[in-house]
Subunit: 321 residues, 2 copies
Amino acid sequence: MTPSVEQALVERILQRDRHAVGRGISLIETGSPDGISLIKALYGRAGRAFVIGVTGAPGVGKSTVVDRLIALLRGNGHHVGVVAVDPTSPLSGGAILGDRVRMQAHVGDTGVFVRSMATRGQLGGLAIATRDAVVVLDAAGYDIVLIETVGVGQAEVEISRVADISVVITIPGLGDDVQALKAGLMEIGDIFVVNKADHTGAQQAVAEIETMLEMQLDESKTWRPPVLLTQATTGDGIDLLREAINQFHAETSPLQSQRRRNRDRLGLWQLLQQHFRREIETGDVLRSGEFNEILESLSRRELDPYTAVETILEHTLRKGE
Amino acid sequence: MTPSVEQALVERILQRDRHAVGRGISLIETGSPDGISLIKALYGRAGRAFVIGVTGAPGVGKSTVVDRLIALLRGNGHHVGVVAVDPTSPLSGGAILGDRVRMQAHVGDTGVFVRSMATRGQLGGLAIATRDAVVVLDAAGYDIVLIETVGVGQAEVEISRVADISVVITIPGLGDDVQALKAGLMEIGDIFVVNKADHTGAQQAVAEIETMLEMQLDESKTWRPPVLLTQATTGDGIDLLREAINQFHAETSPLQSQRRRNRDRLGLWQLLQQHFRREIETGDVLRSGEFNEILESLSRRELDPYTAVETILEHTLRKGE
């Protein structure tokens, strides 16, 4: 991409041109130098969007909740960007969620932009791409960005760190194992939603989550996560979710600043580790062939991984210079 | 730990002293220098164990399958180490699975060692700790090591890369969303098990998996994953699983060598990135305070993350020297 082509793309993104926004995110996803260059150009223009993470186990109705929330936010005049992240198919590189169905609901509305992203390679890569996609949407003037993740593990936690607030969705009557899985999600949730409120056991699910929250209650915490009942198919309770998000936004300013700093720090580390690897793989910091020789010795068990790492770092880092 | 204390611990681990094995894995988990030193001492003595990964969505009966499999393997004279990995609770650091119940079943049997591990910090850290725990068990003479993971996402894929063979367990009648999640697991499975064979739809689940496998069939592949029916509560089908594992072991020698090489490579990268970070955080490769100054500029959006990374690498790597 020539500087003038990039400049034109940047201008169009800043004017919230959907086509340009989509192209920008594609450049990021492929990890191309053009994508990096684009983020460099846009980064200073971003930083205003409020980023809402929405996560939960499969089948809890995340997409329906998100769609209802988008409608509400649009009604209030917000421009909404959505990044639907699928951390579950790292090898195929295909987004299972798909923009297809999702986009259709908002096809005539230029105030909504929905994009799916799937894992390419390492999990760290997905977090980086998600963060960069948020920069593009943010710079484009989408003042609220939703990050929707499917799955129940570490990936959600990684991605939750990109958001200003995390909404965790569950449903009544999930099995014991799934309850256990929620323990990880308990710790990231700022707001809990029990969806499918019409199902048996909804009140019980609310009580269980409240009990779990009590257990981890900490006087120093400035925010006490509410547990809400919704029925996304009818839209019931989505207004309460919106209110709780507003309240969090209004009341937890120091917490949000702290999180943004943590996010910047974590993001910098992820990027630094990714690029450190690239330098070793493609740069001239190690003698050509040295890395493969070390791997050979490892395979023959003549060398152990920790000694290997010490050797490589000794040969690559400027220490005490 | 003094050299003589370490030497004594190494000797006892090599004699398969359960107490010493447990202590060794604890040293690894905490990421202490003693743990690193221990792996350096044991690495050359390991490399013989066959490592079986067992994974699947929550509630499919993984633990029961694993317990049945252990009984079968013990009957054949194998010594079995089990690492039960819980990637779902990264913040609490507590293992949900727990060794408690699991160990009780084999309490009188010195030929079985079961250990749970939970995420501490980054996912990469868990993969490193799992790999190191396998080294300890392997060196201790557990000739079969089972790695059991709970969850349905990226974590399983990361951990599956530590194993020689991956067994993916599912049950009939999981919802659509879970089916979609399985797509990620489809790609790592060498053997598929439909557990709870007595439930409605078991044959249909087998057919569905076979169809998905057909779709990704590749002539170059040397192994065609079988789909087995089991009923772990009664033990039905576990012998077939054992046979399929044997067959894989016997027939895919080049594939296994390839995987071990990939595993060594991936493991080296994970370790290298982890230690690179430690060097930057605690070493003398960056001017004191430089990292925090860069973070400050990032927060003020005067600097973008990519330029920050380029600056840090320029200041830390010996390039073209």
